[in-house]
């Protein structure tokens, strides 16, 4: 096996380099660059330990995805809120479409069913205005329904007397009762206005 003869390190190169002015200038430049690097690292050590350790770790690798997730969440919340609002108010507009003055008397609306039971409303009219509203039927098969309606019916009554129509807001947590209440109420109002109803 042949072996390559080794040239002793530094046998003649240092002497030549020492005499070479361009090599000396290059060494000086390298030394300056090294000093600059040390200065930068020292400055970084004061501000960021990660940079001082020579690492360029990104703090949040999924930064763009984070922003996208936040934007989508906010947009989704906004869109759903608007959609729910319109859905509730669209049904209220439908039930209050009839026009005409109210005749004096007491009118019982048609019962309106939902998954929890029937809702039926009677209104009293005097001087062309709704002066009283009574809920004749509300879902009462479950204690929970009774509790919900005990809270919701007085709120709905207040809304009707204030709005003088079926164009009222639903009560939170009593969506079914509110919707059926408005349908039965509109039926009673239609009777008071002399509008023929299907029921």
């Amino acid at each position: 096996m042949k072996t390559t003869p080794r040239i002793p390190v530094g046998s003649n190169t240092p002497k030549v380099a020492h005499l070479d002015p361009t090599h000396a200038a290059a060494q000086e430049r390298a030394a300056r660059a090294a000093a600059a690097r040390v200065a930068v690292q020292a400055r970084a050590a004061r501000t960021s330990p990660t940079k001082a350790a020579g690492r360029t770790k990104r703090k949040h690798p999924a930064r763009r995805s984070r922003i996208a997730a936040l934007a989508l969440s906010l947009a989704g919340t906004g869109a759903m809120t608007v959609d729910m609002f319109h859905a509730d108010h669209a049904s209220a507009v439908t039930v209050s479409a009839a026009q005409g003055s109210l005749r004096k008397g007491s009118y019982t609306g048609a019962a309106s069913s939902n998954k929890w039971g029937d809702v039926q409303v009677r209104i009293s009219v005097a001087g062309g205005k709704i002066t009283g509203v009574a809920a004749l039927k509300t879902p009462d098969h479950r204690p929970k329904s009774v509790r919900i309606n005990d809270r919701a019916v007085p709120l709905l009554k207040t809304e009707v007397l204030k709005a003088q129509s079926a164009l009222i807001n639903n009560v939170s947590g009593a969506t079914y009762t509110s919707d059926s209440y408005k349908v039965s109420l509109q039926s009673a109002i239609d009777q008071a206005r002399g509008v023929a109803t299907a029921a």
């Binding site: 690798p61 999924a62 984070r66 969440s73 509730d88 509790r147 009560v171 939170s172 947590g173």
Partner: protein, 174 residues
């Protein structure tokens, strides 16, 4: 019905989607099924972010429900399970799930302070918590009959099953 009621419902739905997203991301990361296109750091970072965001939207959901004067909930009802007069079971499930998420997210940031076993046990609470959230949503009733919500629930369950299968049964690609 006030604007707070709509915000309560919408933030609740968004919080659920974010929580499911966080669980999916975390489970895929844990199962080492993150693919090669995006690094594990990206998955872990987004998992943490989605978890934090889910908690933020959950807190907003709770705050809006208390602020809504029609809801019949006060601060005590929203903090102590079994105190709400209306929809007691549904609200209680939501309160318990919220506490579970607070624990899961709260123990993730100072993770090194906990032993791996403790952290892991707490982190696994997110799975029963998301089931409680589903029951809470469907027991409250307002959005339960909505076709969109039902389709969303089916989609979320389907999305969760795949990484859970990967994690539990090691269905890794060879």
């Amino acid at each position: 019905m006030t604007i707070w009621w709509y915000l309560t419902r919408s933030t609740g739905i968004v919080a659920t989607v974010l929580a499911v997203g966080s669980i999916v991301w975390g489970t895929r990361f844990s199962a080492r099924a993150t693919g090669t296109r995006l690094g594990p750091n990206w998955w872990l970072d987004l998992h943490n972010w989605l978890g934090g965001l889910a908690l933020a939207f959950t807190i907003a959901h709770v705050v809006f429900s208390v602020v809504d004067s029609d809801s019949g909930l006060n601060v005590v009802d929203a903090l102590i399970p079994g105190r709400a007069k209306d929809a007691t079971t549904a609200v209680s499930l939501g309160v318990v799930a919220t506490y579970a998420f607070v624990l899961v997210v709260g123990t993730s940031w100072p993770r090194k302070r906990f032993g791996r076993r403790v952290w892991r046990a707490i982190h696994l609470l997110s799975l029963p918590a998301i089931v409680l959230v589903g029951l809470h949503t469907f027991q409250m009733g307002s959005d339960a009959p909505s076709t969109v919500l039902r389709a969303l629930t089916v989609g979320l369950v389907a999305v969760m099953l795949y990484p859970l299968g990967l994690r539990l049964f090691g269905l890794r690609k060879s």
